[in-house]
Symmetry: C2
Subunit: 580 residues, 2 copies
């Protein structure tokens, strides 16, 4: 019987912050030791932050990364730490260092490199060639990094066949809604396939458009989740693993033995690296439990992602306060709530910028939202500025009738006011466009699209209603006024305007958009899902022709499997209109 | 002796335009036939346009691509055509179809997939496995696609060893300055290494930020360039190749024979596909020459790229006219010249938007430039609008002194005026920021950065002076007034402002930026190149902290090996400040 206590340090790192990242890792190493851990795991590339993108092409970046690792190595005593860093050899590798008593005993280079969706790892990394098995304190571990275990024949198979009882995985696995569940199922299958205990440590926090959900796991050899860390929270979970049950399970299941024979024939069995060391877990007999954090419902999950992503983008970029144009509509109301949760209500400034077209209800709703949320609200009517533009442009526009130009003017004046407050007071402007609008381009470039961060750019309008009601529920009071949730959406840029003048109702628009964007369906496939051909064609044409707007949009939290950022790389110049 | 005439159809395709692309290919097939060609080559992915990016993830896109290819196949008679398309099998491949007499006789899948710089081919394509050799009309050809021949041990080696006399390469090789020369040297080396004739067909024209230079080549077995098509021009070049000299060269050079033995031992010699057919070249004895187009000097090369890139972006996106804010400075003056060359002067509208800070010289220079270039110029003074903003913001700004806020307000009012003209009249706004400014963020987001296309975003200021003088020279008159080229650069957003108030002189700034951006140097390495540490640190910090602005910038022509687009993928959230 061998008992060992493993800690998962689900940390929130900042790309390029080698001082801060290494200090935090050292702090967590000490914390894990004091909590009785024999081993502590840190996420993929936790030294550099993830993804470092083209910083990886700079040799000074690589050097600092190695210096930061050296500091961590010096601080690692009486506990084994697994730390993700960039290993520089003939190429660079996405690696894990196995550190014990101030020494790196082995390094493992990631073998399966993702190069799809938001990932570009072939752009940078050499491919690891060798599975890694190491023994420590009487227990045998197999090493993997993120993508490695998403392949059924990943290195964990060979490692288990070579005797690994605990498969370690360090990840920087970005969130999209529902992903933690898929991941858990997958890891559960891998654990039960290989009859190994899985210790899975994922990064948490936001980095530009990505947010990492954490939700790190301990999964036993039967595939049961025995420990789960919370979503979107920096934390440490320590769990005592009894490897005796791995041995017993393998007695009854022939698959690992079979695999060992197969692998041995192919001459691929790695020789375990022996790391002399002792464990604490066996001695005192203390059995630690990481706990089983319950994931929230879908709305809570998404809300948590938006809050974490917004907080980290604002703070990691050195801002403290944000400013939001409050129209009295659901989009800006909800964004203000997310911002207040992320940064504290004292750090959220609302601005109401009515025109003569704005209804009194809208103005009142904005005020009411600000009051209920407890944030400051400025009033800047835009009438005079608008008139001044019309007058100056009159000689050029002579005789032309009003059109979208005048609507955009109003939106752009509002954008300029917010940017002026940003420039004068150092606030970051949060934009309030949702995914439905951003997809079809129902937004004004340099107008309501102007700002530093687009909180809900990956949230469809219909989901926004669900999230808003969820928020009122969990806050146990009506923060977002009921009228905001029930009135017909309007941009209020011309009299009596409604979104439905230009767009199909959101209950129709959103599923069409999901079919087109998330599922990459052809027009006739979307029609076959039960939508009118003319509507589908119109929506698809709007999406395609507004790529240029999205390209100039600020980043925002990615919550879906297909956001409008680097996981959807569409040309602007594009004459493809579906089947001819 | 076997003589064969090969045509290079250096076409300008549009991504996703299957109707237009296939019609053009069929037209060029007929043209090549009438010009006496036995074989005609089209660029890589000439059916779909390059790069199709994530359109490749849509199955309707792949289907239309195959349908377009079928149309081309049906139209191919009495001439062999090599056409780049997306082949769909168990995966998708970046392929070449070998078509003759209404039939596809073979397909070749690209083996070396680029996934660096602006390329993401691992994101989409399966890796080709087999070199392809085919015989036609008594001549043996080896097939390669783009990147394949950039590797010294690419498929051309095995193909030559298997008897290929002519190596065909179809490419979509994006321009950066100086690249055509490197490419020519490389192909010359490959030809002389393998003692093969190389027929290299490159795409031409612009696609979003990329511009393809064409400069297609015929290179003989001694490595001599015997035919060169012009840069940035859609054209067909036909050349008669006498393969007798390939045979004779190989008699004297043992390397191909040696390679054949090596490859045969490894069992990798491909079996030639036999395509029955006859050639015209041998009969009439007509010997065609593609000609040797002389490349222009560096300035002409870059100017050509800017013109081609701007013309194609504007036209392929359905615009005809452009509008440019003319400040009287060199940036906007030069952009107006590029636009006039690209679109015709009748399609370029200038707007002068003076403030009380604008000098009379600047206003006069803008007028003079417009007059000499022969473009329309509107005047829209911004004073009233500016005052109106100041008045509306006063209650919020009370007591605060003027700062960059007020400067940005002016720039943003100008941006709004241009965008209003765009909205009202359907012009595309061309922005005028150069690479020096875009790098350090010396530009106003939603102000002078507002627009559809950033013509010179990859041109450093010092190069801009060279290009402007070059333009005046080749036009054989002073289009850009001398004062524009000699006065001290100023944004004129506050009284007596000069660029050098904020930035080092451009002769210092530009080489620092090149060291940092193009060469990825560390701060101390730039200092070692002879620049003051404080200046270098300041410049680097400006570059890093303005990534958020560049992310919201419009696309522009990429002319360097490291543009500010998808070949430089930097995180916005980034705390790396070099060595600590």
């Amino acid at each position: 019987m061998a008992r060992i206590s493993v800690g998962l340090a689900q940390v929130n790192q900042v790309v390029g912050d080698f001082q801060g990242n290494s200090r935090k890792i050292i702090r967590y190493i000490r914390m894990a030791k004091s909590r009785g851990a024999d081993v502590v795991l840190f996420p993929e590339l936790s030294v550099s932050g993830y993804p470092p993108e083209d910083l990886l092409l700079r040799s000074d970046f690589l050097e600092e990364n190695e210096r930061a690792l050296s500091r961590i190595v010096k601080a690692t005593e009486d506990i084994l730490a697994v730390v993700g860093f960039v290993r520089r050899n003939e190429h660079i590798y996405n690696s894990a260092a196995i550190i014990y008593n101030k020494k790196i005993h082995a390094c493992y280079d990631k073998i399966f490199l993702p190069n799809y969706g938001v990932f570009d790892e072939y752009r940078y990394f050499g491919t690891g060639r060798h599975p890694l098995v190491f023994t420590f304190a009487g227990v045998t571990f197999g090493m993997t990094v993120c993508e490695d275990i998403w392949y059924p024949d990943g290195p964990h198979v060979v490692e288990a066949a070579s005797g690994a009882e605990i498969i370690v995985n360090i990840s920087a696995s970005p969130y999209h809604f529902g992903k933690w569940g898929q991941r858990e199922n997958m890891i559960s299958t891998r654990a039960s396939d290989t009859k190994s205990f899985f210790a899975y440590c994922n990064m948490t926090g936001g980095q530009d458009e990505l947010v990492f959900d954490g939700a790190s796991l301990f999964v036993n050899e039967s595939g049961e989740v025995v420990g789960r860390l919370p979503l979107f929270e920096e934390t440490l979970g320590v769990h005592t693993i009894d490897t005796e049950s791995v041995f017993r399970e393998r007695l009854h299941d022939p698959r690992v033995r079979e695999e060992e024979r197969r692998v041995r024939r192919a001459g691929e069995l790695p020789v375990p690296v022996r790391i002399p060391g002792k464990r604490k877990a066996g001695k005192g007999g203390r059995k630690l439990k990481a706990g089983l954090s319950d994931p929230p419902p879908l709305e809570g999950e998404i809300f948590g992602a938006l809050v974490a992503g917004t907080r980290d983008y604002v703070k990691k970029n050195g801002f403290e306060k944000v400013v939001i144009g409050l129209s009295g509509g659901i989009d800006s109301s909800f964004v203000a709530c997310v911002a207040a949760e992320a940064l504290g209500r004292e750090n959220v400034i609302g601005v109401s910028m009515p025109s003569i077209i704005s209804s009194q209800e809208s103005i009142d709703d904005a005020k009411e939202l600000a009051r209920r949320l407890g944030i400051k609200l400025h009033m800047v009517p835009i009438g005079d500025m608008y008139e001044s533009f019309l007058k100056s442009l009159e000689p050029l526009f002579s005789g032309r009738k009003q059109d979208v130009t005048e609507e955009n003017l109003q939106a752009r004046i509002r954008g300029m006011i917010l940017m002026s407050l940003s420039n004068k007071f150092g606030y970051m402007v949060l934009t309030t466009g949702n995914k439905s609008e951003m997809s079809v381009g129902y937004a004004t470039l340099y107008g309501d699209m102007a700002g530093g961060f687009a909180v809900i750019k990956d949230v469809y309008k219909t989901m926004l209603y669900r999230l808003s009601r969820y928020y009122n529920e969990v806050r146990k009071k009506v923060v977002i006024p009921e009228r905001v949730l029930t009135k017909a959406p309007s941009a209020e840029l011309r009299p009596d305007q409604l979104d439905t003048d230009t767009l199909p109702p959101y209950e129709v628009l959103d599923p069409i958009l999901m079919s087109y964007i998330e599922d990459d369906c052809a027009i006739e496939e979307i029609v076959a899902r039960g939508f009118p051909p003319s509507t589908v064609k119109k929506v698809v044409a709007m999406v395609d022709s507004n790529e240029y707007k999205r390209r100039q949009a600020p980043p925002g939290v990615r919550i879906s499997q297909r956001g409008l950022g680097k996981d959807r790389r569409m040309p602007i110049t594009n004459r493809f209109f579906g089947k001819s």
